[in-house]
Symmetry: C2
Subunit: 454 residues, 2 copies
């Protein structure tokens, strides 16, 4: 009898609603503060940045929010994404654990990011916006926004973190193939970029700085709005199609996870797989554990402070309560560019602080080791970001082996590594290293946290 | 009402048998001749090259050949592949045609090639072979063989056509991530390679030459066999999972194609989508047209001769009757590296010669124009090879528009273009050109055809 390897779903089985974790949180989210006044923002404060459809979702507490038909029609270019049982990896590890993964790498841009790029493009389009400014770390988000932009006839300008711009020329070309305009950040196109270039012409950049540039671009042009690929509530909301599909697919495998794992940069990928399971846990008292995995070199959730902070280095974006390493924190140039952010999604942060989820960090070399084991047993070459989740899943499976007990593990494979092959080459050549952030550097960054008086 | 965009199938709906077109051909295939004696080869002649499981399939006339369970278990890592209706492209073209495509780019290696790499690795494994030598043009086949090799614990050595080796470093790194050993061809590792390097150290190489190197490697080592990614009967056979799935998926869309299109290099991709439809046409008298599309710069089917010829430049491989531009033909370095072969699958050749299928050629620039239209409406960035099929599909859709009549078009998207982004960059920069092969060059190559006395 041939083994079941995966569960696909048909078009009509794709979720018709996004799931909003806010409805099931015992405490409401902390307010979002205006970067200039330090007072809670109103929807009007956000209109220079976002279209109203997005702002409404950002502040909504409704459990289910309908996905517009136009958005579903585009999501169906790759969704529902398949859910796999990693039988090859299980065999290699000789573990009693069952390892499952959701493959978000099947989207045209190669990651989970289009799940929110498409609705963001849609809400901008119906609001009459002509152009979107955004930033990108690893290139996954920028690609996704260019992809979504071309489908809705919007211009897209991408500020790409310098270290990724240099390491990933193919990502840039991909964005250009979809008609996007791409510059390295820091760029000479904005005040924020010029200021950093003046101090350090060789700056590798950071996600925080690239956000500043994109926000500045957006607020300075009437026809332009900003789009963020992670962190914010509406972004986490849009990603919940992942977890909702996964719940249905796990059912078709007749299993329920003991642990659900996602890598964590800004928080959208983790939220996408975890929030639907967490909401179910809160409502129905299941025992599932939710684990966010970040790099040891950028330990926002595991070593940062839970505090009000800016989302960007130039202090143009709203102040939110989150785990943070400080807005001026410049993480080392590890290859998981999508995980190099100083902050974290406020929703993830609050849920971590209140004990609903767990966080752990893994070293770069251990994540690549896991990536290669995965590639050679399951075939798919993972993105370095996703490899953090694979590492944690393997560790869970090895623990189960030590205990001699079955454990059902589900992780989110956020994307493929087709545009990260140079990182693999460096790994095989022994040119990568682990990095532990000195305590002093964390303390220094945190001294700059804004004073907030609520 | 939300539109149906695609049909996926579940694991258990994957075909359990390969379909062999030989069973439905009115005339038997021409004999395969020994390159040394010019006499028909026996299975024993082929044992230095292939394991017996493969040889049996090469000469089989049975209509249905069972796919081993171990092979199906691996194919399910990505199969069944989804079939899409290209609604975005239809809208752009404003055509009454319905355009469908099968997406073979969802495999871990990114193309249809693993469909045959996996069974070839399996039959070698059960025959006790330890190592496989093979060649690759665009890198799709080499990647696929490395992918399949690692899953079955086989070493893989890949001779990669120099022009692709230089243009596609990421493809090499991908093969290495799967544990393969890759050298540019011509290489100093074989007699065939050294001979060409002596004449022309800057040689860009060709698929014909790389085949010579891999064959020489295989026959010179007891533990090694050869694997070919196209042309031969067993390769075309393994690809028929594509067309069989597509027939079922078109049924689920309640449509039947008027025309089925595949790009053509060695013939395996075209065979995969076309042969199940052609067998059905022969048995049940349908009206479907089958169209193979090749580059204008390497016009094997449209300007070559139907003759006995060698499959490789060094005359080590068997002589087969096929459309050919001559085994010494060196095609220009167009970016669709997978379509740079002097010959064609004997089965495709015979079926073309007997009027069962059609062939046409398209220019490089027109294929890239089609690729960008496709990427900006359907999201997926196609491989340059696949773009030839897209071009032909668009032309069919525009003809339908001119006629004002519906036409149901199905093409095979053989792979994605994630490792071809530099080609797109050159296209956008105006650095690509069309190329028309001079008649004199074709005549010259054909003067070298072997004399065959049957």
């Amino acid at each position: 009898m041939s083994e079941k390897r995966k569960v696909c779903l048909e078009d009509h089985e794709m979720p018709k609603f996004w799931y909003n974790i806010v409805a099931d949180m015992p405490n409401p989210p902390h307010p979002v503060l205006h970067p200039g006044t330090g007072k809670p923002v109103t929807p009007d404060d956000l209109t220079p940045l976002f279209p109203m459809g997005v702002i409404e979702q950002e502040v909504s507490a409704e459990r289910h929010i309908e996905i517009p038909r136009e958005v579903r029609d585009i999501l169906k270019l790759w969704r529902p994404s398949p859910l796999f049982r990693a039988r090859g990896l299980e065999k290699l590890l000789d573990t009693p654990a069952h390892i499952y993964f959701k493959n978000e790498g099947v989207s045209p841009a190669g990651s989970h990011k289009p799940n929110t790029a498409v609705p963001q493009a849609f809400y901008n389009k119906i609001a009459g916006v002509k152009r979107i400014a955004t930033e990108t770390g690893a290139g996954q988000w920028g690609s996704s926004m260019c992809f979504a932009g071309t489908l809705f006839g919007l211009e897209v300008k991408v500020y790409m973190v310098r270290v990724s711009y240099d390491q990933k020329p193919y990502r840039r070309m991909m964005m250009e193939t979809w008609g996007g305009a791409v510059v390295p950040s820091p760029s000479p196109d904005t005040e924020a970029g010029r200021a950093v270039l003046a101090r350090d012409p060789e700056s590798m950049g950071s996600l925080g700085l690239a956000i500043s540039e994109a926000v500045e671009d957006a607020v300075s042009r009437e026809d332009t709005r900003y789009a963020l690929g992670s962190v914010l509530n509406h972004v986490c909301l849009h990603q919940t199609v992942i977890g909702q599909e996964a719940m249905l697919q796990m059912e078709r495998f007749d299993e329920f996870p003991d642990v659900v794992i996602g890598c964590h940069g800004g928080g959208s990928n983790f939220s996408g797989i975890a929030f639907p399971f967490l909401g179910d846990k809160i409502r129905n008292k299941t025992n599932v554990r939710l684990v966010a995995v970040e790099p040891f070199s950028c330990p926002t959730l595991t070593r940062g402070s839970f505090a009000f902070d800016y989302g960007d280095t130039a202090h143009l974006s709203p102040i939110v309560k989150m785990y943070t390493l400080g807005a001026s924190f410049m993480p080392p140039g590890i290859h998981a560019g999508g995980l190099r952010y100083h902050g974290a999604a406020p929703l993830v942060s609050q849920l971590l602080n209140e004990g609903f989820i767990e966080a752990r960090s893994v070293h770069q070399l251990e994540s690549f080791e896991a990536a290669v084991q995965f590639a050679r047993t399951e075939g798919i070459i993972p993105a370095p970001e996703s490899s953090h989740a694979i590492r944690a899943a393997i560790d869970e499976a090895l623990e189960a082996k030590k205990e001699g007990k079955k454990r059902v593990i589900l992780f989110n494979l956020s994307g493929h590594g087709h545009f990260d092959m140079t990182s693999y080459e460096k790994y095989f050549a022994g040119q990568l290293a682990n990095y532990v952030l000195p305590e002093a550097e964390i303390e220094k960054a945190l001294q700059e946290l804004p004073k907030v008086d609520l």
